[in-house]
Symmetry: C2
Subunit: 240 residues, 2 copies
DNA sequence: CGCGTGATTGATATATCTCAATAACGGTGG
DNA sequence: CCACCGTTATTGAGATATATCAATCACGCG
């Protein structure tokens, strides 16, 4: 068994310096930006709110006021269909921004909840927009982040079968941890299979079977809410 | 047979006054906004470029310069997967904006082509951003449009089976025509079943069978690249 | 009129879903 | 620390939706 003692939950700094707003990617790694504008943003951010599993960040229908950035843990965005069943339409991991669906009509379109305990930052949107109006660079970053989200949706729909869906989800999480200086091959994985199945559009049992197959083929291991990618090559072969 | 002589292709005005940038929805209908800012936008727009079926609006990898708004016809956004097959990840109908996927990295992520002959407008992005920097309202509208696109993706993933996917697609098109003053029950439908199947994540044959069933059940008719929704209630029942 | 493309339909294969039973896990209270 | 109970995950057998393969049909275009 590999070392599992790394504490992924603990904030690394007291300000929210590692969300997409305040960092940029250089050679696959996220690094903080140092600038007057970023300092301005940080001055309006409410940092590191702790949250327990299943607690709500924002509720569908509520008045849009804030964007949020995940600091640790995992969050889900739930849409209530007209038939009344819940569809998980997005999953957020550290560094990502939540709440873009509130801008359009001034009300959030989905409900966002914590999948595991974790922490997040609050970015009051209208002050942020004020800053964006002053600083060209911030306006720019904001639009780029929204563009990135649009791309993410475009691409995430391009997988076909259950195995590919799961692997590409795990790969996204892996990439993210890697980009933030953690191992790409071992990382926390706290989402329930029910939620994940819902998100991927699969039955719970189907997802479980795919997991079993991947374990049996010695491609990955799942224990203690940690995933270990054992055979990285075979793992990647599944999706390309 | 109903009247099919309405010319949906012909621009109604010489400036691009009916895209999402320059209109707002009031009671399910799109109306033009009259303001200094909108006039400023219109002054930088290149209006009503004609395009033939299968011609390209922009190519994946090309340098991002412009946003585009559909004026008439239908367009598809194609993503080339690593395995080399083409996935249609988005479909655009009149009034919608194309090109948001270029903002993030300054290069378009997908290729956009005309599904049928049609026309579109070109909005140079950097001049637009300049305007957005000057006019708070334009900055606002831009972000709202991107937010709307994000919501559209969130929601479009919540359908389950083939029939629901198709019906909800047709409904989107119907809603759009309705919002622009046309009939909600009869409108052009020029996309090939191959493209549509690809977009909906179905096999071509499956889609064809669904169409056949809907025709046999007298819910809709498809002739001459026009869809007629015959039984609007049964039609809507399928998705809610 | 003929040819190529796109659409339809049938027969069969396959992936995924559903239902059901069992097993593992995680938290709680003694 | 252990026993208990509810939740979550696993596994099997069978049903179902969709994919695949193949043949035919319809349409638009030169």
């Amino acid at each position: 068994m590999l070392n599992t003692s790394i504490d992924f939950q603990k904030p690394k700094s007291s300000n929210c310096g590692d969300c997409e707003l305040c960092t940029q990617t250089v050679e696959n790694r996220r690094v903080r930006i140092q600038s007057e504008e970023i300092a301005a943003i940080e001055s309006i951010i409410d940092s590191h709110i702790l949250i327990e599993k299943n607690q709500t960040v924002y509720e569908a229908g509520a008045t849009f006021q804030n964007l949020f950035t995940v600091h640790s843990g995992m969050f889900k965005s739930v849409y209530l269909t007209q038939q009344g069943d819940e569809r998980i339409v997005d999953v957020f991991i550290p560094g990502q921004i939540m709440g873009f669906d509130g801008i359009h009509k001034g009300k959030y379109k989905t409900t966002v909840k914590a999948v595991s305990s974790g922490s997040y930052c609050v970015i009051p949107f209208y002050p942020l927009q004020e800053l964006a109006h002053k600083h060209r660079d911030i306006q720019n970053r904001l639009m780029k982040m929204m563009s990135e989200k649009i791309i993410q949706f475009e691409i995430s729909h391009s997988e076909y079968n259950a195995k590919q869906k799961l692997v590409s989800f795990i790969k996204d999480v892996s990439d993210l941890y890697y980009s933030r200086g953690f191992s790409a091959n071992q990382f926390p994985f706290q989402i329930s299979q029910r939620d994940l199945a819902n998100y991927l559009g699969l039955a719970e049992e189907t997802l479980s079977r795919v997991f079993s197959k991947l374990k049996k083929a010695n491609i990955l291991a799942l224990a203690d809410h940690q995933i270990t990618i054992i055979d990285h090559d075979s793992f990647l072969e599944i999706i390309d």
